[in-house]
Symmetry: C2
Subunit: 202 residues, 2 copies
Amino acid sequence: MARPKEFDQEKALRKAISLFSQQGFAATSTDELMRVMDVGRQSMYDTFGDKRALFLRALEMYVTESVQSIIEELEKPGPALSAVRNALVTFAARNDLSNAEGCMGLNAISEFGHRDADVTRITRSAARVQRHALMRVLARAKSQGELSSDADPDSMADFFESTLAGIRMAAKAGKSRRALRNLAAFAGRAYGTTVDREDRRR
Amino acid sequence: MARPKEFDQEKALRKAISLFSQQGFAATSTDELMRVMDVGRQSMYDTFGDKRALFLRALEMYVTESVQSIIEELEKPGPALSAVRNALVTFAARNDLSNAEGCMGLNAISEFGHRDADVTRITRSAARVQRHALMRVLARAKSQGELSSDADPDSMADFFESTLAGIRMAAKAGKSRRALRNLAAFAGRAYGTTVDREDRRR
DNA sequence: CCAATTCTGGACAAAATAATCCAAAACGTA
DNA sequence: TACGTTTTGGATTATTTTGTCCAGAATTGG
């Protein structure tokens, strides 16, 4: 038919994610996006629609992958609580945290709050999926007697999510990778006093 | 001399803080600021310089007050670790968190990262002051034997700050006041297993 | 080699936004 | 009351930024 259909869309999106993560939506100009994505203006508009649509596409891609990688950690075999604690530590060690780029998801929530329906839909949806996996692991922990009876799964889940957010912000604030790891490990303590025993078991 | 010197600067600044907290810097137009602050354009420029200077003034006011109120909690009498845990719970109950307005400090870090020297100076300076108070309380905890010997004050402090950030984000994400409180209480568990005993003591 | 189609890049139009200007009103003080 | 100073608000300008247009180049299939 014709010319081989555009540039590498996924790569371009990743560049956009990087830029949006650093500066947010409003502060990022289309000129800057073009330059970083290495795409002509027309190509950009043809492919993605407009700046806002591009942002939403990028956001969706980002949160989906982000949630995915956390769920993978949560569903690792072994004691359920260990998986939870480990997910925190592993998350703290992620490469993309060390460059202080920031989390596009948090960024979007920061910037838009809940006044943008599309943004809210995307972040909420991803959060729901993650929450689901989280509650499943916690239920498993409970059924296997890892949790004391007074432990409230909802609060534990809220705490988990909040810890992730805290780690992300600490990373953006410039904390060292080691500090992030220690912080995550320390947060794990909240999940019960069985930490030491389980850690030794491995 | 002349006319009675302007409007209520502090009130206007608070309005500006509210708006910036919700939308960030770039997404907030001067028109919107004028309307919300209830100040004429010229007055605004005369009084604050320009949009950026206004933002910095507002940011400084916000983080100073925010840090101040946390330090007050941290320095309350009683067992040091209780003060730390209590600071988290009290923070989670703050009124300004329930309206999902968001934290201007986090917002600023999200939006600017460290590419803006002035913003960085303001947030860093406030963080340093808070950190100082925090380390003092933790040192007191250690000297009074509330901390096990393997506890690392730096990690504990990082965790504390990270928890605050997590609570703020959870609030902005729309979590209920009760959820925030439970989350904060749960985070407190990380500071040692003496929770129950100390709580009962009161 | 030709044709159809898509990409590319620069120029351009339109809108939004930051910041300045200016004249009139408000106010304290003499 | 009258003067000098300051605030106020609208009009205006300049700049930035988003999005479109258009013509030429590139590429695949017949």
